[in-house]
């Protein structure tokens, strides 16, 4: 029955080559931890993606309860954490996952750096990876404000003061991010939109490019 449905779709859309291309590409021995234990360093990229998926899923569930306005934001998070079934777990996954994704990405970056995998012809993929790194830091910075507790508020205020010191464009940059002259209602809605729509959209596009290039170029050979 499943096979019949698959064949019906395949006849019309010819989908087999697409997924076979992903499924059949070879994974060489030197990156396979089953053959060389030290090859576990090659798992960090996959784990980064795994945690990114967790972040996206847990974040989707958090937005079911979170209210991005300064009157309700804190109380919606408090409600989510203390009253909603498994709310504390879901928020915990998003909170700790945010740190873990940075750790994994950092380890992945170090692996690529110290194995010299960014060398020709893979320069572009390294640059895209770095852009992913910056997007992740941006997600961390914008997400930090959303619970709207004192820690969130004052850390963002310090961040804004730092942005303000950039020569020439600093004050404009600060006002653009704040959505006004103070860290307030506009800042929260703006950070929410950036955290939930703008940066994830950019992240998915960059991840697509990252994976496409890996698929095209293959993984770097043994040292």
């Amino acid at each position: 029955m499943f096979k019949g449905v698959y064949n019906w779709i395949d006849e019309r859309l010819d989908i087999t080559p697409m997924w076979r291309d992903v499924a059949d590409h070879e994974v060489p021995e030197h990156v396979n931890p089953a053959h060389h234990f030290s090859a576990f360093v090659y798992c960090f990229g996959g784990l980064t993606f795994f945690i990114t998926v967790i972040q996206i899923l847990s974040g989707m569930f958090l937005t079911m309860y979170y209210v991005p306005d300064i009157v309700n934001a804190y109380y919606s998070v408090e409600y989510l954490q203390t009253k909603v079934a498994f709310g504390q777990i879901v928020r915990g996954m998003h909170h700790w996952g945010a740190s873990l994704v940075i750790v994994m990405m950092f380890l992945h970056t170090l692996r690529v750096f110290f194995t010299g995998s960014y060398k020709a012809p893979r320069e572009m993929n390294w640059v895209v990876g770095m852009l992913i790194f910056f997007v992740m830091l941006g997600l961390g910075f914008t997400g930090y404000l959303l619970p709207w507790d004192n820690k969130a508020y004052f850390a963002t205020k310090v961040g804004m003061e730092i942005a303000d010191t950039v020569p020439y464009i600093g004050p404009y940059l600060k006002e653009l991010m704040q959505g006004g002259t103070i860290v307030g209602a506009q800042t929260l809605t703006r950070f929410f939109a950036i955290h939930v729509f703008f940066l994830p959209a950019g992240l998915l596009a960059l991840l697509g490019a990252h994976f496409f290039m890996i698929r095209r170029q293959g993984i770097s050979g043994p040292l």
Binding site: P28, G92, M93, R122, D149, K151, A152, F154, A155
Partner: protein
């Protein structure tokens, strides 16, 4: 039929469909590009990677269950005593700004120049380190720069965190997320509400605004923190305070302070401002009369 297709064909494409009928089966690739035991990504390798993923997932879930995510008190822009701290992965950049050569009039060095050089160098790494050699010990400049940067990041993060902990200790501050959780646990044990009271709702009126106690309230400098209209500023609102505190309790707070001196003992200040004991007594009585419901 109108279209000239053979009726033996299983699917007849109409119009300009670009999908051609396939008469071959996709071939299995031969894994000869690399020597050794190559294997297919799905399912052979992905299953192994999934095992690593499962171990990571279990460890991660243990962490989320044992350590609840921190949540402090609602943001209060008037809170002047809060010690700001960024997320841990920004700490090294934050610490940089505390050194004299990267703060004050040189702050641009700490906020723009050093991060731009470091991150710029990282982005441009493949073009700066463009030799063919891949092993890290055969490219000493790139590797040693990375090692030094790593050590610097670890050092700066550690110093920043130690500084933060030291500052908390010095100021005798318990981080709000810990304090909130403890208080919530105590409140739960006592059967009281555990959540933070939400401000807003109905505005509580001042009771007997023309009472001479209002003048005493201003004279004794209470207004500086609690606001000229009793609505609170850096200290909480006192409107409706009579609902939670009695006259004696208020007197005690005036004499001894509250919250480890966040509300200081104001008795001497009040006397110094020319109030008598009777005025203070009357002030406490008036504050105790401030009830939300009339």
């Amino acid at each position: 039929m109108a279209h000239g297709h053979s009726s033996k064909e299983k699917v007849v494409y109409v119009g300009d469909s670009r999908v051609k009928k396939r008469s071959y089966n996709p071939e299995q690739p031969d894994y000869t590009a690399y020597p050794g035991k190559s294997e297919a990504f799905i399912p052979n390798f992905l299953l192994k990677e999934w095992m690593v993923g499962v171990v990571a997932l279990v460890a991660f879930l243990v962490l989320t269950i044992s350590e609840p995510p921190p949540l402090g008190y609602p943001a209060n822009p008037n809170n002047t005593g809060f010690v700001p701290i960024p997320d841990w992965y920004f700490l090294f950049l934050y610490q940089l700004l505390k050194y004299p050569y990267a703060s004050g009039s040189y702050v641009v060095i700490g906020t723009v120049l050093i991060p731009a050089v470091m991150f710029g160098g990282l982005v441009m790494a493949p073009f700066l380190d463009s030799g063919k050699e891949r092993r890290f010990y055969k490219r000493p400049i790139a590797s040693s720069l990375m090692f030094v940067s790593l050590l610097a990041i670890i050092y700066l993060t550690k110093v920043a965190w130690n500084g933060y902990e030291h500052e908390l200790k010095e100021l005798n501050i318990i981080p709000e997320h810990i304090e909130r959780e403890e208080k919530a646990r105590e409140a739960a044990a006592a059967g009281k509400p555990t959540g933070q009271a939400k401000p807003g709702g109905k505005e509580v009126a001042i009771v007997d605004k023309d009472d001479p106690a209002m003048a005493s309230f201003k004279k004794a400098t209470c207004v500086a923190c609690h606001g000229a209209d009793l609505k609170g500023a850096s200290a909480p609102s006192l409107r409706g305070i009579g609902d939670t505190l009695s006259k004696d309790e208020i007197l005690k707070i005036i004499h001894e302070g509250k919250n480890d001196g966040k509300m200081p003992a104001m008795y001497d200040t009040a006397i110094g401002a020319g109030l008598t004991d009777q005025d203070i007594d009357h002030l406490a009585e008036w504050l105790a009369k401030q009830k939300a419901a009339q």
